[in-house]
């Protein structure tokens, strides 16, 4: 049995990363030229890793699924990026960012990784400013900050409501520079089909060119997966249409352990579902909770009238409204962490206080903020978000409160990695949302951008050298090796199999069904019976998929149906693993809420005695049950407590 070794460096937490860097192995410039690295994905983690590794002198090949690296879904992040700069002089520090992140994650993240994240957060801001990222500034010319959920300081840097876009364009510009320099070779419209392992090490990938359908082999000394999260297993999520879990699922099937697959973030402020034709959900930035107040009617009768359109929300007097977050959590109010805010919204709606046609919505109201600050200030802060809302809902949020409801947004789970971001397969690294590492059971707002760029700019360029140092004598691999041959054959067989089923149901119809099973049973509230039911239903649906799916067209052409089918086939396996993990974890923590385990007032009830570990699942073969390994979590620098935002 594989022993999980997180490879946490010795020494006090504030010195671990410094010590690591001081003693790690390095590769000299002449040898770097002889080493090849494959990076899959060009979001914040992938683009920053590829650019930085290219700058160091490695030969890098980088792949993206879209027509340009600039379109990776990091682009859609709105609110901001955290750093412990303490520019506002409000008491922030590296320790406090570390503490807030571990606490926000409900004490299910590895201390050493999170500390390093907080430590390099400041360098990220410096780097991005040097690249020309136009962060928001104050009149004195210095950088502005705002606050986000789960923190009592203002440590979030932002570029209007388009922070992800600007940071990604920064990383994309660095990547473009390296492509021009010839150190990075860029492959667009290219999707990973499989990972190639030779003698136990990751040595290459099989890619499919989505324009020609050509199956290609690429070899390297090391492979980085930066392919994002798997929230689209729910069909409806805030993820982009092409976001998928196939690359990490292939790695899992080849032996990489999967960490905490059930940890999913349901974001509290999204535009509610409005019809069964809907293809995705749209996020409204958490930053809105800085100024917006969340409420539902106090009485179910008023809620009923509003649902039926007999009353407008603006007509409901102040004393008839329930600002339930401010009532339940006076210390953090509307800025409680995402998991807490989402569950509170669900609780109110389930109890019959929800608004909107479906009753599955709550209000996010800016009337007070507009009165206090003036419309122009609100417009300057959130103008693009308000416009986006109006275009979708045909309602003016300056005049009537926004309607919001939680939606699947982010997956804290992912490929298990050690301190070096290396998976259980030597030579395979995972970065950004694709790994499980830093957010525990719940990610704080503005921390995803921080983690993606931390991994790519400041962690992998060091830790990968430590791995590659003993690879300098290893000659470039030939893609004629039998391992490549075999992986390509398996890919071709799988594609052929999908194309030849020729059943009666579209790929999307399966994806929708899977999404419903997941949302109903592996969503915001989970229980034993529901999870067991979900596992059975998913197995049934998977079997049906391979018998009755209809995939039109051929492999050697642009074929979006085939692309979707390949992804949904993997989601149909991944969803089951998520349910299994949720079933085993008999406690509530962060985004994982087991209804059997809650405090008398409905808060998540952790069980530190039995579940203070990272779940790391090992694949054991098709139709065999995966095996659970446990990485115990040790908290030396933070006292583990019941989270309290009251």
């Amino acid at each position: 049995m594989v022993k999980l070794d997180a490879k946490i460096p010795h020494g006090p937490i504030a010195e671990k990363w410094t010590n690591y860097k001081a003693h790690q192995n390095l590769v000299n410039p002449a040898n770097k030229r002889k080493l090849d690295i494959i990076v899959v994905g060009t979001g914040l983690a992938g683009a920053s890793a590829a650019a930085s590794l290219g700058e160091l002198g490695f030969n890098v090949k980088v792949f993206c699924i879209q027509d340009s690296p600039r379109r990776a879904h990091s682009i859609a992040a709105q609110g901001g990026i955290n750093a412990a700069k303490n520019y506002p002089n409000d008491g922030d520090s590296i320790y406090r960012l570390f503490y807030d992140t571990v606490k926000g994650g409900d004490y299910r993240a590895r201390e050493a990784n999170v500390y390093r994240l907080a430590e390099v957060s400041n360098s990220i801001i410096d780097q991005c400013v040097a690249q020309g990222v136009p962060f928001a500034r104050e009149y004195g010319g210095l950088l502005d900050n705002r606050s986000f959920g789960g923190a009592q300081v203002s440590r979030t840097f932002y570029a209007r409501g388009q922070t992800g876009q600007q940071l990604l364009l920064g990383a994309y510009s660095a990547l473009s520079k390296e492509v021009a320099n010839g150190s990075v070779k860029l492959y667009t419209r290219s999707e990973m089909m499989d990972l190639v392992i030779i003698d136990g090490r990751a040595r290459g990938v099989i890619m499919r060119d989505v324009i020609s359908g050509k199956i290609e082999r690429h070899a390297a000394h090391a492979v980085v997966l930066a392919t994002g999260g798997y929230g689209n297993v729910f069909f409806l999520s805030t993820n982009a249409m092409a976001s998928n879990g196939s690359a990490i699922w292939k790695a899992f099937r080849k032996g990489a352990f999967f960490g905490n697959p059930c940890f999913t973030q349901i974001h509290p402020t999204c535009i509610p579902v409005h019809g069964d034709y809907q293809s995705k959900l749209t996020l409204m930035s958490e930053s809105l909770r800085n100024d917006g107040r969340i409420w539902v009617p106090k009485s179910p009768e008023d809620a009923e009238k509003i649902r039926k359109g007999q009353m407008k929300p603006t007509q409901l007097p102040e004393q008839a409204r329930d600002y339930y977050l401010e009532r339940r959590y006076p210390a953090f109010g509307n800025l409680v962490p995402r998991d807490v805010a989402s569950r509170a919204a669900k609780e109110r709606c389930d109890a019959g206080f929800g608004v909107g046609k479906t009753g599955l919505a709550v209000y996010l109201d800016f009337a007070d903020a507009i009165k206090r600050l003036g419309k122009h200030v609100i417009e300057a802060r959130y103008g693009n978000l308000f416009q986006m809302y109006e275009k979708i809902n045909d309602e003016n949020p300056y005049e009537t409160p926004m309607m919001i409801y939680p939606a699947v947004h982010y997956t804290m789970g992912g490929i298990w990695v050690d301190y070096e971001l290396q998976t259980t397969i030597p030579g395979l690294f995972a970065a950004g949302e694709a790994n499980f590492s830093d957010h525990g059971a719940n990610r704080l707002g503005a921390s995803a951008l921080m983690q993606g760029l931390s991994d790519g700019y400041f962690v992998l360029p060091y830790t990968m050298q430590n791995y590659l140092a003993d690879q300098i004598g290893v000659a470039r691999f030939k893609t004629e090796a039998p391992e490549f041959e075999q992986a390509e054959k398996e890919t071709r067989d799988r594609i052929q199999k999908l194309l030849s089923v020729n059943g009666n149901h579209t790929v999307d119809s399966y994806h929708r069904k899977l999404g419903l099973i997941m949302w109903d049973n592996v969503g915001m509230g989970r229980n034993k019976a529901g999870l067991e039911k979900a596992i059975a239903l998913i197995q049934e649906l998977r079997a049906d998929f391979w018998k009755n799916v209809k995939v039109t067209g051929t492999n050697d052409q642009v074929n979006p149906e085939l692309e979707k089918a390949l992804r949904v086939a993997d989601f149909l396996e991944l969803g089951e693993l998520m349910a299994r993990d949720a079933l085993v974890r008999e406690e509530s923590c962060g985004g994982h809420f087991r209804e059997e385990h809650q405090t008398p007032d409905g808060e998540a009830l952790r069980n530190d005695k039995d579940f203070n570990f990272v779940s790391a699942w090992e694949y054991t073969g098709a139709d065999k049950e995966p095996v659970l390994h446990k990485e115990p979590l040790v908290f030396e620098y933070i006292e583990v407590k019941q989270r309290n935002y009251k």
Partner: protein, 250 residues
Amino acid sequence: MDLTLKIWRQASATAKGKFVNYKVQDISAEASFLEMLDLLNESLVQKGEEPVAFDHDCREGICGACSLYINGRPHGPDRGITTCQMHMRNFKHGETIVIEPWRAKPFPVIKDLMVDRSAFDEIMQAGGYVSVRTGGVPDANAIPISKRNADLAMDAAACIGCGACVAACKNASAMLFVSAKVSQFALLPQGKLEANERVRKMVARMDELGFGNCTNTYACEAECPKEISAANIARMNREFLVAKITAPKE
């Protein structure tokens, strides 16, 4: 609502394309334009026909992937939004909607409504960056920038690289796209050092790739989903002129 769709179908880059008519029924006014196309595709697949290929990804107006010419306008009739942000309430029951790909020589059609916009990446690779390496940079607040310039730089940086400007322009000019990046860096001290070289290289690459020139019709600005100002083109022209005058003799 029921609609007739007149859609450009083209099997591959080299195949000859043509318009094909489709009927869609019972489309909700709340649905997005791309969700309406999803419904069409779902029905085509069910009939065993090939669905219409189109680029799309984030479906919230920021990735820049979607790129449809709707009733003769890039991203359709509404202003300041992308195709994916367009909702069916902009159309009427019984209407015929004409849907085409971007039509510009530097953006060849790949299939149906998908075009190849890699030329934009190539322009960016010619100089759309500040040449700093990872690490070793000054503290972020060591470079104060006036709020005005930071805001103007952000206005320009909001470009999503969708190519609507090129599609809207009768000359297939990429001036708005290129000038947005040139302006962002020209307005910031970080970008100043390489400003001359940057504008020279990016403009040269743009010309090589076959984009046309600007003749000041401002169709680009009118159709830009992010409402990037044509003033950026003026700024780029000034930068270009300065770069030309001050260029070292070969």
